[in-house]
Symmetry: C2
Subunit: 181 residues, 2 copies
Amino acid sequence: MIGFNRNYFHMNAATTPATKPAAPMLALEHFLPYRLSVLSQLVSTSIHDRYFQPSGLTIPQWRVMAILGRFAPVSASEVCDRTLLDKVTVSRAIAALRQRRLVQRTVDPGDRRRSALGLTPEGQRLHQQIAALALDYERRLLQGLTSAERTALDRLLQKLTGHARAMRMPTSARQPRHPDT
Amino acid sequence: MIGFNRNYFHMNAATTPATKPAAPMLALEHFLPYRLSVLSQLVSTSIHDRYFQPSGLTIPQWRVMAILGRFAPVSASEVCDRTLLDKVTVSRAIAALRQRRLVQRTVDPGDRRRSALGLTPEGQRLHQQIAALALDYERRLLQGLTSAERTALDRLLQKLTGHARAMRMPTSARQPRHPDT
DNA sequence: GGCTGTTAGTTTCATTTGAAACTAATTTCG
DNA sequence: CGAAATTAGTTTCAAATGAAACTAACAGCC
């Protein structure tokens, strides 16, 4: 172990002791973005390591499959919107998945730039397999939360995501495009 | 817009309609890992784009600074544990931050492999600056949540993170090492 | 029709990433 | 003690990433 003399604060933006000028302290372990990042990272890598490592899918590839499993047919750009993955990443994931015959594409006759993406039967099978495992993970993760807590969690995530989306605007207007999520 | 005939389920692992064999459906928009990922991504990139893009810090660099600002002195591996960043990433972030004279390192005399890391005065100034902005972002993100909701959120994140950490074990025993977070 | 601008998606290329190998210091244990 | 195993941290190298440029199809407008 290394060293010591740490300052413990137990509120973010601790109101300073009146003697000092306002210098808000960042109590990292209570800082929401940090906590979200740690939790999300933890969960994503757990699931990846355990469940779809063996299938040889990368995380973006799995995300795309998950979207398709749920919302097909969709266009690539809708996948981007829903996953927040970069369009390059999505383009490559789709290419790889098509190569493996897990995803199929049909050019939209009304607009030949777009294409409708969906899972092949084989893709559906794999999706089903991984989905079962992922849901099991989620179930275990949520064990110990009461039904009320789950409801609360649901509402909170919804609210926060809504705010976060609203607050993101600056980077040149973006289409919301998805009522749900 | 593309296409259509979507299935709407509004619960994860929807109990199947008795006529079909159990095929749990992954209702992505209700799937916790997915929602966490989207939210966390949204928040992290918002903060990055707005606040420390100008300082020229990368996300890992900022994370390291945030840890040091809060917990210095710490070793590099403790930074890894706390951020869940890869040790290579941390090593490089530290190298860059030292180059910029934002971070300083003192070799631990008791164990000359380790070093105690901390912010330089200049690093502290920058940290302080960014922290203020980040906290402001957090404040705005949490606006609209009642005090009770915030408490609930806090508890939920704590619980979930605890579970997630516990469930991660498989990948060859890991030291918990941090009571907090 | 035919410019001008926009959108869907891909390709290029320089940067970032992380697994694996490595160095160096420390600990374990016969 | 000293060989073998472990840990902190760095370097290497191949793969993943994403910003910017590009292609192709569409939309608006005169």
